[in-house]
Amino acid sequence: MAEAYCELVIEGSIDASSSIHLENSLEQVILEGNSVLLINMSGLTYISSAGLGAFISKLDIINQRDIQMIFFQLSPAVASVFEILGLGDLLDIVADKETAIGKIK
């Protein structure tokens, strides 16, 4: 049986001027009642703390609603920023989509 999930594809640059779009999209997929969110970062060329903040500010509600959120295909540069902040310990980050699907509970 195919696993049910919602894939959010992040593309381009996310900074203080554009993070609102990510925040709105994330809020929408949470409100839709999705229980699994796969965050496809393959097209993300840049993310600042404003973009990271869009995810972090929703972590509490994501945990409360028992939503599984898995990030995949981060570029080495983006991954280094997650590492600097220690987000690797708090978020589920995997190499690719196949691995992400394999982790769905």
Partner: protein
């Protein structure tokens, strides 16, 4: 060599700040990941200035200067005349605090402090000067 950019207090100009920093650093022997992190740190501190120092007043501007001493050091100098914000006295929150409070902000200055090797803040005449240093070795 010194490189100078004047930036309006407008969030829409952050992309051109990133392009400027990246293009300056690309001319030196600095790794791609290190360039990315330095671009991020400067983007964060400029976003902070734009939002808090002059409340996004696009008719005013501040200056960013970059000086690179090859194989040794990169110096970033931000000169503004808005409300003074001394990052060196700012007590960055813990990540757990940010998550528990569901905050969107707070991580930018954590990144700046972790990416740069030295940060100094001073006031000269009517200007606030923020001096950020990154040591580079090859």
């Amino acid at each position: 060599m010194r490189h100078l950019l004047s930036i309006a207090y407008d969030k829409q100009h952050l992309a051109s700040v990133r392009t400027f920093v990246r293009e300056v650093l690309l001319t030196y022997k600095i790794s791609e990941i290190q360039i990315y992190q330095l671009v991020l740190a400067i983007d964060e501190i400029c976003a902070n200035l734009i939002i808090h120092s002059q409340n996004c007043n696009e008719h005013r501007s501040f200056e960013l200067e970059i000086e690179v001493i090859p194989d040794r050091q990169i110096l970033f100098l931000l000169r503004d005349d808005g409300d003074a914000f001394d990052i060196t006295k700012y007590c960055t929150p813990e990540l757990e605090e940010i998550i528990t409070a569901g905050r969107k902000g707070g991580m930018g200055l954590i990144l700046v402090k972790r990416i740069m090797d030295n940060i100094e803040f001073s006031k000269e005449k009517n200007h606030n000067i923020c001096r950020l240093v990154k040591n580079i070795t090859n």
